[in-house]
Symmetry: C2
Subunit: 231 residues, 2 copies
DNA sequence: ACCTGAACACCGTTCAAGT
DNA sequence: ACCTGAACACCGTTCAAGT
């Protein structure tokens, strides 16, 4: 990873080191690299959302020409794949020492997954269309092992993994997309009421205003786990 | 809805009715309308996928100028919203006569939902980013009523709805995105094995090759329902 | 090995104008 | 009320060229 330099220092070093950075004389940016590109792409996505990521904007932010990116990266799809997988890197404990609470471990793995994605809401809507990168596979691997330890039989393992994956993805995607629009939800509820009578049930229960996403997530997850690995 | 006419008939009527369709003399297409635009957008999405929908291509297919679309439709986002909601129109029985099998009704509602979306795989990856149209609301309403009849208490209704929604969305999105790439999955499994050792658990269980999506869907759904509405 | 600008074939949408 | 073409400000990517 390139270290950050202060503006003053970089200006000086730029003036002095004309021969040291011959191909990069007009800029104070460190050299281009796959890592820098991906990190900057994530920044851009966080700041501007899915549509905000543009090869041209990305190059701008990196202080390089647009076409320079294509040396390090296949195309825009590739950038999406890399950004998504980088955001899903697992940083938690990969093997809690002698844990006895296997069910708690499963919950932790899944909640960490959800939390990671919610930190970058674009990742949720991106995931369904992208390839499985190494970090995603790593999380699936971890989930598989934890489920085995929790007592899920080998024959049921894939069903269990996919059920939980589906649930987590659905919950995360829903939450990420609905949470963006708080007053939209209020507006939606009002619209519901103006159509008075067409949707009486969900109007009465204030479905669109309900926002205990975390609670609902945990509750549904518990039900699933009860079925998958009876305690 | 504009009625379909045969080519011959429309050519004749075009020649005769110069004064009847004065603004549309040069084409044998019926007049533009919101409905036609949406229907054609769905065709285009089915044929070419998400990236295949272009205002220009859409206009081409409709035999009109690009800008004519904007009289009937706000912008491209609007087209996406309309196409998505149109695909989610519920056509099943809205009130089965005196059904006693309430749990079966819930399952039917959710499976019909999933089936509708899988008929148009782009809808799955589109949904998380779009507004709730009338047909989506209608399905939520139906689900809510069915759950009530199945014995879910009012206080638990929203949690139940969102849990099921999340599960169905996750399962559908996953299935729609993974199913597109059959030999990709085989390639992924091979890649796994070439990395031999990094992901032993999911390699051993052939997770990426497992494709009993429907079975997994039903199983997980049953577990959820067991928790939400004990029989 | 790494970076670049010009050029191509596209986009969505504004606007002013037509009937 | 409905449709249109020209024009604008963008896109992603190929290519041939630079160091």
């Amino acid at each position: 990873m390139a270290a950050k330099r202060s503006g003053a220092q970089s200006k000086r070093s730029q003036r002095i080191s004309g021969t040291l950075q011959p191909t990069h004389a007009a800029s104070d940016e460190p050299a281009l690299s796959r890592e820098r590109i991906v990190a900057t792409a994530v920044e851009l996505l966080d700041a501007q959302g899915l549509d905000g990521l543009t090869m041209r904007r990305l190059a701008d932010r990196l202080g390089s020409g647009v076409m320079s990116l294509y040396w390090h990266v296949d195309n825009k799809e590739d950038v999406f794949d890399l950004a998504l997988d980088s955001v899903l890197e697992y940083r938690g404990p990969t093997q809690t020492v002698e844990s006895q609470d296997w069910r708690g471990d499963v919950v932790h793995v899944l909640e960490d997954w959800r939390t990671s994605m919610l930190r970058h809401p674009w990742s949720a809507s991106l995931l369904p269309r992208r390839a499985l990168g190494p970090n995603i596979l790593g999380r699936l691997e971890l989930l598989s092992k934890t489920l085995s330890r929790a007592g899920v039989a080998d024959a049921d393992l894939n069903v269990a993994i996919w059920s939980l994956w589906n649930y987590v993805m659905g919950a995360t995607i829903t939450r990420a997309s609905f949470d963006l629009s708080d007053e939209d939800r209020a507006a939606a509820q009002q619209r519901l009421e103006r159509l008075s009578g067409r949707y009486p049930a969900i109007e009465r229960s204030h479905l669109l205003l309900d926002d205990d996403w975390d609670g609902a997530f945990r509750k549904g997850l518990d039900f699933l786990l009860d079925g998958l690995a009876p305690r």
